[in-house]
Symmetry: C2
Subunit: 504 residues, 2 copies
Amino acid sequence: METSQAYQDLLSRMKELTLLNTTAGVLSWDQEVLMPPANAPHRGGQMALLAGMIHERFTSPKMGELLDQASSQEKTQAPLSDAAVNLREWKRSYERARRLPQSLVEELARVSSQAQVEWVEARREKSFSRFEPWLARLVELVQQQSRCYGYEKHPYDALLEDYEPGLTTQVLDDLFPPLAENLTRLLFSVANSPVKPDRSLLHRTCPVALQEAFCRDLASSIGFDFSRGRLDVSAHPFTTGLGPSDTRITTRFDPNDFCNSFFSALHEAGHGLYDQALPAPHFGTPCGEAVSLGIHESQSRLWENLVGRSLPFWVHFFPLMRQKFPGVFDDVTLEDFHLAINQAAPSLIRTEADEISYNLHIILRYELEKDLLTGSLLAKDVPEAWNHSMEKKLGLVPGDDALGCLQDVHWSHGSFGYFPTYTLGNLFAAQFMEAARRDLPSLEDLFSRGDFTPLRNWLREKIHLQGQRFRSEDLCLHVTGKPLSSKAFTQYLSSKYGALYQIR
Amino acid sequence: METSQAYQDLLSRMKELTLLNTTAGVLSWDQEVLMPPANAPHRGGQMALLAGMIHERFTSPKMGELLDQASSQEKTQAPLSDAAVNLREWKRSYERARRLPQSLVEELARVSSQAQVEWVEARREKSFSRFEPWLARLVELVQQQSRCYGYEKHPYDALLEDYEPGLTTQVLDDLFPPLAENLTRLLFSVANSPVKPDRSLLHRTCPVALQEAFCRDLASSIGFDFSRGRLDVSAHPFTTGLGPSDTRITTRFDPNDFCNSFFSALHEAGHGLYDQALPAPHFGTPCGEAVSLGIHESQSRLWENLVGRSLPFWVHFFPLMRQKFPGVFDDVTLEDFHLAINQAAPSLIRTEADEISYNLHIILRYELEKDLLTGSLLAKDVPEAWNHSMEKKLGLVPGDDALGCLQDVHWSHGSFGYFPTYTLGNLFAAQFMEAARRDLPSLEDLFSRGDFTPLRNWLREKIHLQGQRFRSEDLCLHVTGKPLSSKAFTQYLSSKYGALYQIR
C-alpha cells in the first residue's frame, strides 16, 4: 500500500535522526573502548551537543504536524503494517520526548559522559566517595526526568517505559518476590547437594591471545558476522549497533578466568545476532529496531546460558577447546567441565553470577533504584543499603565498594530502570527456548554437532525480523502462545540444576 | 583587553562547531582504523550530514553579522592579539565557506567517505579501474569547488588555500623545478658513490609486538603523551586531534620492514607533539590551531628525519633497540645501521622513499593534480601519466597501480592541493632546525643522551604555542629570520649525504 507524502517526509527525517543517533553511538563506543580518559570533558561536550540537537529535531513542532498528518492519512493501513507500526512507535517516542526540556536532555548527556569516566576511576580506586556526588546528581536528574515524563502509579514506571515499553512497576512487584523465593530455595538445595564442582578448573591459566581467538570462534560459530561487526575489549562488556553493517560487541580478558571472556563473548554475540538480523531496509525506523531491552537480553541470555552452558554445546566445543589450549584441560572430563561452568553459589559480582543467583542481584538493584527515585534512599547511603541487602539476599558482604555498589556502569550512564530488563530477559529466554524446542525437536543433537543455524533461523524469523511490530509482552504471547511469567524459567533451572546437583 | 558581546557569542558558536568538527573527526578516525568496510554507505551518510550541518551553521547569515559586529568592535585590538587573530582567520574561513553551496559540501563528504573504502579495495585488488569512477567524480567535485572559491591566476590556487593559506601555485612553480634539479643531481651522486649501504639489514625479521612496543618507546621518548593520546594501526599512517586531550597517531607494521613502523611512528608523533602542545584554552579557535599543513608537516619531518635519522639519535637508541630485539642486530655496527636507514635510491612508494627522492614523488603528484584540475589530464589516463612521470623523474615504472597511482589515500579523501605541503614541510623543517641549532648549540650531545626536551621546548615556544598567530611564510620569517626557500634543505641534504656517501 502506497504511503502519503507526510509519511515519506517523516521517514526521511527519522532516518536522518538515526544518522545522528548512531554518531552519538560511535562517540560512546569510542569512549568506553579507546578514548584517553583525560578527554572526557571534551567528549562530554560533544555528547551533550548531539543529544540536544537530536532532541531539538525530534521534538520540533514540524515533527508533530507531520505525525498528525501521516496518522490521519495512514489510518486505513493494517494495524501491524510497516507504516502503522512505525507511526505507533514514533508517536509514543515523540510524545515522551516532548515532555523533556532540552536543557535536561543536554545536562543528562553531559553529566553522564563525565560520570562514566569518574566511575571507572572510582571503581579502580575502590572509592565510593569519588563517585558519590556524580551519583547524587544523576539521581536528581532522573527524578526530574520521571516528573517530566509523568506516571500513573509509581515514579519508576516513567523510567521503565524507556527500556521496556508498556511494563510497570506493578508487574515487577508481582513477578519478583515469588521468583526470589524460588531462587533462594533452589540456591539452598544446590548448597546442600553432595555434588561439589571443581571450581579450580575455571581458574587455570589460559593466555589472553588464545582466549581472544576462541571467543572469536565461539561468536562466529553461533553466527556473528565479523564482516559486519567487531569484537573489542572494554571494562564492562556491551553491544552497540552503529549502522546496518556495524554491530560491535566487547568482552574482557583475565588469563586466570577464561569463563569471563567466553561467556561475555557469547552473551554479547547473542545481542549481536539480534542486531545483525534486524531487517536492514528498515534500519533507523521502529520496524528495523529491537523491541525492548528485555527482549534484547533474552537473546543474549539464551545464547550465553540456555545454549552456551548446555551439555550438547560443550559436546561440540570441549574437544576444540582442549586443542586450542594445549595441555590446560587434558585431565578434565567433559562432565566435570560442564558441572564447573554451571556451579551455582552466592557471589559478589553480578556479571559473574550463576544463572540462579544472578536474578537476586537484579532484584537488589531494582529495590535500591526504586528507593533512590522516591528519595527514601540517598546516594550517600547506597553502599550501606547495598551491603545490607547483599547480606540479606545472598549472605555476603562485599569487602569494598568496587566489589559492591560500584561494580556496574549503568548508573554512571544515568540508566535507572534498566536492570530489571536483565531478569525479564532470562524469563523471556526460557519461554522462547521452550517454544523453539517444540518447533525444532532435535535441537540438542544439532548443538552437539556444532550446528546452530536452525535455532538462529527460528529466532530470526520469530523475533529478529519482526522489529518492533509487537511490544515485548505481545511478542512473547505471539511467539510462545503464553503470557510473560517466571514459570518456564524456574522449570528450566529446577530441571537443569536438579539433574546436575542430584537434587530430589 | 575586554572583548565585546558579539565576540563572545562568536567564540561560543565556534567552540560548538569544533565539537561537531571533532565528532566528524572521530567518525573518520574510526573508519580508517576500525570500522567494518561493509558499513561505508552508512558512515558516508553520517559524514555528509555532519559536514552539511557544520557548513550550514558556519555560513549562517547570523555568523556573518556577528563577524561584522565583532570586527568593528574589536578594531582597537593589537593586530596579533588573540581576538584579532581569531577574527582574521574566522573571516577568511567564513568568506571561503560561504562560496561553497551546501549541496557540494555534502556531496564531497558522501562521495569521499565511500571512495575511501573503494580505494582500499582497489589498492588491495591492484585494480585502478575499480577506483577510476570515484576519482573521476572527485575531480569533478574539486573542479566545482575551485570554481566556487574563485582564484586570480590558477584554479589550483583555490585548493592550495585550504591547506597552506596564502601560498600560490606561482610560489610552487618557482620553488619546485630548481629543487627537483638539485635533488636529481644529489641522487645521481649517491648512486655513483662507492659507499653501498647494506639494505638487507632493514629487512631482518622483527616481531610485530616488539616493534609496537619500540614505537611506543620512541614516541614517548620524544615527548608524545600517551595519557592524552593513542597509537593505533591503519593502512595509511596519520594523526588526528579529536580533542584537547585526545591526539591519535597511527602506524603500520610489517615483520620484515621495521623501518616502516619506526619512522612512521616518529613522523606521526612529530605531528602529535604539535597538536598536544597547542594551547588548550584556545582549543577550537585559530589561536589554538596549527598554522597550516606545511608547518604541521615540518614538525613530523623534523622528528622523523632531521632528528630520527641522525647519528646522535641512534647513539642513544641503537643499544636500546639491540636489547629490545634480542639477537637481531648483534652483528651490526651503529655506523652500518645509520647508513642503512639513510640509504637513498629511487623507489616506487612515497611513504618509504628516502629524504632526497621523496620530494620528486611530491612534485610528480603536484604536476598531475594541476593537470587533473585544469582538465588537461583525465582520471582514466592517470595510470599512464603516473607511470610516464615516474620513469622520467625516478627511472622506474611501477609493476601495478597499487605500487603506482593507487598508493596514496589523499585523492580518495577529495584532498587535492595537499601533497605540495609535504615538500613545504621538508623545507620549513630544515629552516627551523638551522635556527634551533643556532639557539641550542649542544643539540647533538643532548640527542645522543636521549634528551629531546630542549628541542621540544624550543619548538613549543617558537611554533606550537603560537597557534595561527602567523601565516606559514610569516612564521618562518619570524622564527628563522629568513623567508621560505629550499636553501637550508638542500644544504642539509648535501652535507648529510655528502658525508655518508663520501661525495666530493
